[in-house]
C-alpha cells in the first residue's frame, strides 16, 4: 500500500485524518487494528456498523472511542426489552405555554448513535431504527425530520444464542453495511490493557481529533474514488455467486451490492488509492455480506458458517481480466 506518490491532495488529507482517528481509537482498543480500520471504512462509506460478540470484549468501548475521537454529537442508547420506539425517535409533547405540540428529538438526532445490545430490544423498537438508518430521516406524527450528516449507527449485539435476545430481522440486518466480531485480544494486548486500564479508563482522556466538517469532507473524497466497469462487474459477480450458491438459502440483496462497492471505495481511499481494485472487494466481502445471508439446511448440517461460504466463493469467482489466456 505504498502508492502515495501520485495521490490527489484531498486523499492526502483523508489518509492523514483517518490515521489520526485510528491512532486515537487504538489508544483505547489495543491490538484490533483490523476492526478499527473496518469501522473507519464503514464511517467513510456512510454506512452503519454492527458489532457482534460475547460481552466484555470491548464492543461498546470501540463505539464510544470512535464517537469520542470525532468532535460531533454522539448519543448512546441502551437497548432493553421495555424500550419503546419513541424512546429512540423522539416524541411530540404538548407545551402548555405555547399550547402546541413540540417535538422532543430522541437519541437518533446525533451524528453517531451507539445502540448498545440492540438485540435485547423488542422487534418493534428495533424496527424504529430502520427508517433512520436507510433514509437518514425520522417521521413522527406525520412530520419528517432530516438527520444530520454524517449519520452512523454503531450497534452492538450479543450472539443470538445468548439469553434474553431477539434476533434482528433480515430486513434490519440488511441495513447494516458491515458486521464485525471483536474477538478476544491477543495475550500481549490483554496484558497491556491491564497495565493501562488498571488505574484509569483511557477513554476519559480521549480528545476529539477530527471535526464533523472534516469527516464530511472525507466522505466527499471517498465518493470521488473511481470504480471501473470491470470492478462493478466483479462486485456483481461476487454477489450473484451468493445467490446461486447451493449452500445459501438467501443470497445477498442488490442493496448489499451498493454497500459493498461503497465500502470498497472507502477501503481504497483509506489505502491512499483513488481507484478500487479487486483486493478491496475481496477484503470486504465477508464483513459486508456474511450477516445478510442465510445458510441452507445442508450447510447448517455441515456447520458451515456463511463466512466460510463467502470465503470459498471469493476464492472461486475470477478476478476481472486476470485470465490473460
Amino acid at each position: 500500500m505504498a502508492v502515495t506518490q501520485d495521490v490527489p491532495p484531498q486523499l492526502d488529507d483523508l489518509v492523514a485524518t483517518a490515521h489520526r482517528i485510528r491512532e486515537a481509537i487504538e489508544s483505547v482498543i489495543e491490538g484490533k487494528s483490523d476492526v478499527v480500520r473496518l469501522t473507519l471504512t464503514v464511517l467513510l462509506a456512510e454506512g452503519h456498523l454492527l458489532i457482534e460478540d460475547v460481552p466484555g470484549v470491548g464492543k461498546t468501548m470501540l463505539a464510544k472511542a470512535l464517537a469520542r475521537s470525532i468532535d460531533c454529537p454522539v448519543r448512546r442508547v441502551q437497548f432493553t426489552p421495555d424500550l419503546l420506539p419513541s424512546d429512540i425517535t423522539g416524541v411530540s409533547a404538548y407545551n402548555q405555554q405555547t399550547r402546541e405540540f413540540e417535538f422532543k428529538p430522541g437519541p437518533v438526532f446525533a451524528n453517531i448513535v451507539v445502540g448498545d445490545e440492540i438485540n435485547r430490544a423488542s422487534p418493534k423498537t428495533q424496527s424504529a431504527l430502520l427508517e433512520c438508518m436507510e433514509e437518514h430521516q425520522v417521521t413522527v406524527d406525520g412530520t419528517t425530520y432530516r438527520l444530520d450528516a454524517p449519520f452512523m449507527v454503531i450497534a452492538t449485539q450479543n450472539p443470538i444464542e445468548m439469553e434474553g435476545t431477539y434476533p434482528l430481522p433480515e430486513a434490519q440486518r440488511d441495513r447494516f453495511t458491515a458486521r464485525i466480531a471483536m474477538g478476544y485480544p491477543e495475550p500481549a494486548a490483554e496484558l497491556e490493557m491491564l497495565d493501562v486500564h488498571g488505574a484509569t479508563s483511557p477513554i476519559d482522556k480521549l480528545e476529539p481529533v477530527a471535526t464533523t466538517a472534516e469527516v464530511r469532507a472525507l466522505i466527499e473524497a471517498v465518493r470521488a474514488v473511481y470504480v471501473s466497469q470491470a470492478i462493478k462487474k466483479y462486485a456483481i459477480d461476487l454477489v450473484t455467486a451468493t445467490r446461486h450458491s447451493p449452500e445459501l438459502r438467501l443470497g445477498a440483496s442488490p442493496r448489499s451490492t451498493l454497500q459493498l462497492v461503497r465500502a470498497a471505495r472507502a477501503h481504497a481511499a483509506l489505502s491512499g488509492r483513488d481507484y478500487v481494485i479487486p483486493d478491496d472487494l475481496q477484503a470486504l466481502c465477508v464483513p459486508v455480506l456474511a450477516h445478510r445471508l442465510l445458510p441452507s439446511v445442508e450447510a447448517q448440517g455441515q456447520r458451515r458458517l456463511p463466512e466460510q461460504v463467502i470465503a470459498d466463493l471469493v476464492r472461486r469467482v475470477p478476478v476481472p481480466e486476470a485470465q490473460a489466456r
Binding site: 505504498a2 502508492v3 501520485d6 473511481y226 471501473s228 466497469q229 470491470a230 470492478i231 488509492r273 483513488d274 481507484y275 478500487v276 481494485i277 479487486p278 483486493d279 475481496q282 471469493v314 476464492r315 472461486r316 469467482v317 475470477p318 478476478v319 476481472p320 481480466e321 486476470a322 485470465q323 490473460a324 489466456r325
Partner: protein, 816 residues
C-alpha cells in the same frame, strides 16, 4: 430403432466406394433399393422386438423378393413372388454376371448380371451389418463386413481411392458406432419415473450424455482427419513395402505411394475394348519400331505373374542423369544407342509408369520420375505421364548368335530372383518343357526352340476369348486348348524358360505400333505382354511367342536375334555393329556393376555426370530425427517469437502523456462511455499489457499455478513470499502488479516507464525458484504455447459442434 437405420446408412456410405468400378450409376440405385429393403425389415424387426434369429431370415426373404422383382419380374408370379422360372432366371443371370466379370476390365459396363451380383453383394453385406449391429449389438464387429465391401474397389482399380470416399465410408461406420453408443447410454441413463409422471415432477435432465457424445465425436473426427492427412504428411519419398505397395493398394489423394494395377487384368480389358484409341506416338533415331515396356513382372506364384515392389531411390531420379546400368549388359557385347521421342496422349488415364524401350539408359522428362535399378522400370508416385513428352536414350544390345550361345551362367542374384517357381507346378508342364526342347542345347538354343514351339510347332492359336489366367488356365492353355492371347503366351514361355533354367520374366507394355507418316502410333490394342530372358553379358532380351499378323497380336514382331538367319541384317531393326567379335566366356561376371558406357556420357554433353551415392541409412535416420526435432521445436519457436515481440512493446517508453490520456477519457465521458477498455489504444496500456502477458506466460511455463481469483497485487505478494524474492525482484514484481492494477481499474494509467528491467528481474527470480528440468522444459516445450495451441484446437472443435447443432438443432425435451 436407431440402429437398423444407422446400419443401413453405414452400408450405403461404404457402398459408395464401389462407384469407380462401374461405367454408369444404375447399379447404385439398385443396390440402394436393396439396402432400403433390408433396413426397412430391420426397423420393423426392432419395432416389434423380434428375437435375434428371425430378423435376418426375414431380411433374406424380403431381399430375395426384391431381387426377383427387380431382375426377373417377368418370370415371377405377380412380378414379385419368386417362382421356379424366376429362380432359374436369376441363376442364369448370376452365371452371366460371373462370366462378365471375367471378361471386362474396370470400369465395367452395366450388364444385368454384374448389377445383380453387385446388388446381391451389397444386400448381403447390409443384412450382415444389420445382424451384427442391431441383433447382436456388436457394432464394432459390423465393421468387418463393411471392410470387406470397402476393399473390393481397392483391389480392382488401379487409382488410389479418393479421400472423400474414405471419409464418407468412415463417417458411415462412425455413425453406426455412435448410434450404438447412444442407444446403450440412453438405456441405463434414462430416469423412467420422470417419463411416466411428466406433469407432476419437473423433468430432470436425462442422463448427461452430451459430453460423452461430444468426446466420442471428437475422437472419431480426429481419427478420420489423421487417417486422411497423416499419410500425405509422412515423408515417404519412395513407395515403401511397409505401406503395402502391392496390387491395388490405394491411399488418400496426395499420398506418395501409387497403386499398381493388376497388369494382367488391365491387359485383357484393353485388348477387348471396342474403341481403339491412341495411347502414344513416338519417333526413334533409326526410325525403327520399339516395344515399349511398362511393367516387368518377376514373381510367378503358380497362378499369375506379379510384380515385386519397385524401389525408386532418390538418386535414381531421371533428373539425376543416366539411369542405373542395365543388369547383365556387358561392354563386350556391341550395343547401339537409340534415341526415342515419345508423346503420350492426353486421353490416357493416370499413367504412373512410363512406356520405355528396354534398356533405357537415360530419360528426359519433367517431374519426379524414378527408375527401379533392377528392372529399369520408370515410375512416379506424384506425376502422371498423360499429355507429356519425353526423350529416351536406350542402349540396345546387338548380340550375335555366337555371343548368346556361349553366354555364361547367370549371377546368383539373378538366378535367385528369376528362376523361382512354385513347388506345386503341374508335372505335365515340367514334362512339356523337356519335350519341346533338346536337352543338350544351350540356353539360347532352348529359348529359340521354345519360341518356335509357341509360334509354329505347337499349333497354338490366338484368341481373346480365353478366360482366366490362373494355374489351371496355364495347364489348360499349354496342354489342352492351346488358344490364348499374349498373356498366356508370354506367361507360359516365361514359366517354361524358368523350368529349363533360363532366368525369365514377363514384360507388359506396348508393341511397336503402326507407322503413320513417319511416326509410330501406339493404340489400345497394341497393349501386349512378352517374355524377357536373361543372358549373361547381354542382359535381358525379349522374345515373342505370340502369333502376329491379322490372326494374332497385330503389330507384334519377332526380334532378329531369335530368327534363324542371325547374322544377316534384320528388316526393321537395322544392325549397326561395328565389330561382332566373339568375346566368348571371358565376360566379367559382375558386369551389372560395370562402369557406364562412355559413349553415353558423350552423347549427353560429354560431361561425366557424377552418380550420387545413395544417402546412407544413418544420415536418413539423422535427417528424420532432425525433422522431428524441428517439428517438436515449433512451440518453442512460437513462444520465442511472442516473447520477442512483447519485449519490443514493453521496453519502450510510453509516448502518450498522462494528460493526453485524461483528455481522451474526458472525451469519452462526454460521449457517455466509461469503458476502460476503450482507452486500450494508449501506448502505455500496451506496454503494461505486454509485460503482464509475458509474466503470465512465464508463470505458466514454469508450472506455477495462478488462481483465477487472485488479483495482480495478491499474486505479486504470494510470489514474493513463496519463492523468496530478493528486494529488487519484489520491488519489480510490485511495480508490475501496480501498473497492471492501474491499467485495469484506475482512471488513468499514470506514469509508467519501461518495464523491461522489471520483467527481466522477475523472470530471473522465477527461473531461480524452479528446477533445471523445469527451465529446460519451459524453453523447449513451453506449456503456455501448448495451452494456446490446445485452446485453438478446442475452439475449432467447438466450431464444428456448433455447425452440427445448427444443422440438427431441434427441441431437446418435449416435457419442458
Amino acid at each position: 430403432m436407431r440402429l437398423p437405420v444407422a446400419a443401413g446408412a453405414a452400408t450405403g456410405a461404404v457402398a459408395l466406394a464401389l462407384y469407380p468400378l462401374f461405367q454408369t450409376g444404375t447399379w447404385f440405385w439398385t443396390s440402394l433399393g436393396a439396402i432400403l429393403v433390408v433396413t426397412a425389415v430391420g426397423v420393423l424387426a426392432s419395432r416389434y422386438t423380434l428375437p435375434v434369429w428371425p430378423a435376418p431370415v426375414a431380411q433374406l426373404a424380403a431381399f430375395s423378393v426384391y431381387l426377383t422383382a427387380v431382375f426377373t419380374g417377368d418370370a415371377a408370379w405377380g412380378r414379385v413372388v419368386p417362382t421356379k422360372e424366376s429362380v432359374v432366371e436369376l441363376a442364369k443371370l448370376t452365371a452371366a454376371g460371373f462370366a462378365d466379370i471375367q471378361r471386362f476390365a474396370v470400369p465395367v459396363p452395366e450388364r444385368p448380371g454384374i448389377v445383380l451380383l453387385t446388388c446381391s453383394g451389397v444386400g448381403l453385406i447390409a443384412i450382415l451389418v444389420d445382424f451384427f449391429a442391431s441383433r447382436l449389438r456388436r457394432s464394432a464387429l459390423a465393421g468387418l463386413p463393411l471392410l470387406s465391401l470397402f476393399v473390393v474397389p481397392a483391389s480392382f482399380i488401379s487409382d488410389p481411392l479418393s479421400w472423400p470416399t474414405v471419409v464418407v465410408a468412415a463417417l458411415g461406420f462412425l455413425g453406426l458406432l455412435a448410434a450404438d453408443g447412444r442407444e446403450r447410454i440412453a438405456h441405463w441413463g434414462r430416469a423412467v419415473l420422470v417419463r411416466r409422471t411428466p406433469s407432476f415432477v419437473a423433468p430432470r435432465p436425462a442422463a448427461e450424455t452430451g459430453t460423452l457424445r461430444l468426446s466420442g465425436k471428437r475422437v472419431g473426427f480426429a481419427a478420420i482427419v489423421l487417417a486422411v492427412l497423416l499419410p500425405s504428411m509422412l515423408p515417404t519419398l519412395e513407395p515403401s513395402p511397409l505401406f503395402g505397395f502391392g496390387v491395388g493398394n490405394g491411399t488418400g489423394r496426395g499420398g506418395n505411394s501409387i497403386g499398381i494395377p493388376n497388369p494382367m487384368v488391365n491387359l485383357r480389358g484393353a485388348l477387348s475394348l471396342p474403341a481403339n484409341s491412341t495411347i502414344l506416338a513416338y519417333t526413334s533415331s533409326d526410325s525403327g519400331s520399339r516395344y515399349l515396356r511398362l511393367y516387368s513382372l518377376d514373381v510367378f506364384d503358380g497362378d499369375q505373374w506379379t510384380m515385386s515392389p519397385p524401389k525408386g531411390r532418390p538418386e535414381d531420379r531421371t533428373s539425376e542423369g543416366p539411369l542405373p546400368p542395365a543388369p547383365g549388359q556387358g561392354a563386350s557385347v556391341p550395343a547401339a544407342p537409340v534415341t526415342t521421342k515419345v508423346a503420350v496422349s492426353e486421353e490416357v488415364r493416370k499413367m504412373s509408369f512410363l512406356p520405355l524401350p528396354y534398356p533405357a539408359a537415360q530419360v528426359r522428362i519433367e517431374g519426379d520420375w524414378r527408375a527401379d535399378a533392377d528392372t529399369l522400370m520408370v515410375f512416379s508416385t506424384t506425376d502422371t505421364a498423360e499429355g507429356s513428352s519425353y526423350e529416351v536414350l536406350s542402349n540396345e544390345p546387338r548380340p550375335t548368335a555366337a555371343v548368346l550361345t556361349t553366354a555364361g551362367p547367370a549371377s546368383q542374384a539373378i538366378a535367385d530372383r528369376y528362376l523361382r517357381l512354385p513347388d506345386d507346378l503341374p508335372p505335365e508342364i515340367i514334362t512339356l518343357a523337356s519335350q519341346v526342347t533338346e536337352p543338350d542345347a544351350t540356353d539360347y538354343e532352348q529359348a529359340i526352340q521354345l519360341q518356335e514351339f509357341f509360334t509354329s510347332k505347337g499349333g497354338f492359336s490366338y484368341s481373346l476369348a480365353t478366360q482366366g489366367h490362373g494355374g489351371p488356365a496355364l495347364t489348360d492353355f499349354l496342354i489342352r486348348s492351346r488358344a490364348g492371347y499374349c498373356e498366356q503366351f508370354a506367361a507360359s514361355m516365361a514359366v517354361l524358360a524358368r523350368i529349363l533354367g533360363i532366368p525369365a520374366r514377363v514384360s507388359v507394355g506396348y508393341t511397336g505400333g503402326t507407322n503413320i507418316a513417319g511416326r509410330w502410333t501406339v493404340r489400345t490394342h497394341d497393349l501386349h505382354a512378352w517374355p524377357e530372358l536373361y543372358f549373361e553379358g547381354t542382359g535381358w532380351l525379349r522374345f515373342e511367342p505370340t502369333p502376329s499378323g491379322a490372326t494374332g497380336q497385330g503389330t507384334a514382331t519377332v526380334p532378329i536375334y531369335t530368327q534363324p538367319a542371325v547374322d544377316t541384317g534384320g528388316s526393321d531393326e537395322p544392325t549397326t555393329r561395328p565389330s561382332s567379335g566373339p568375346t566368348g566366356g571371358d565376360l566379367p561376371s559382375g558386369s551389372a556393376n560395370s562402369p557406364r558406357n562412355p559413349m553415353l556420357e558423350r552423347d549427353f554433353g560429354g560431361v561425366p555426370i557424377a552418380v550420387e551415392e545413395g544417402t546412407p541409412l544413418a544420415v536418413k535416420i539423422g535427417l528424420g530425427v532432425a525433422a522431428a526435432l524441428l517439428v517438436a521445436l515449433v512451440p518453442a519457436m512460437l513462444r520465442w517469437g511472442v516473447r520477442l515481440s512483447r519485449r519490443r512493446v514493453y521496453s519502450r517508453r510510453p509516448a502518450q502523456s498522462e494528460t493526453a490520456a485524461v483528455e481522451e477519457r474526458g472525451r469519452e465521458a462526454a460521449r457517455g462511455s466509461t469503458r476502460v477498455t476503450a482507452v486500450r489504444s494508449n501506448r502505455g496500456q500496451a506496454t503494461v499489457a505486454a509485460a503482464w502477458a509475458e509474466l503470465d506466460d512465464a508463470l505458466c511455463d514454469y508450472g506455477m499455478t495462478r488462481q483465477p481469483s487472485e488479483s495482480p497485487r495478491a499474486l505479486a505478494r504470494r510470489l514474493s513470499e513463496q519463492y523468496e524474492f530478493d528486494a529488487d525482484a519484489t520491488a519489480s514484481m510490485t511495480r508490475i502488479a501496480e501498473a497492471v492494477e492501474r491499467m485495469l481499474f484506475a482512471r488513468t494509467l499514470g506514469e509508467t516507464g519501461s518495464l523491461r528491467e522489471d520483467v527481466r528481474r522477475v523472470r530471473r527470480a522465477l527461473a531461480g525458484a524452479v528446477s533445471r528440468g523445469r527451465r529446460i522444459r519451459a524453453a523447449l516445450l513451453p506449456p503456455s504455447t501448448l495451452l494456446r495451441i490446445r485452446t485453438m484446437g478446442t475452439r475449432l472443435l467447438d466450431g464444428f459442434d456448433r455447425l452440427e447443432n445448427i444443422r440438427f438443432g431441434r427441441p431437446a425435451r418435449r416435457n419442458a
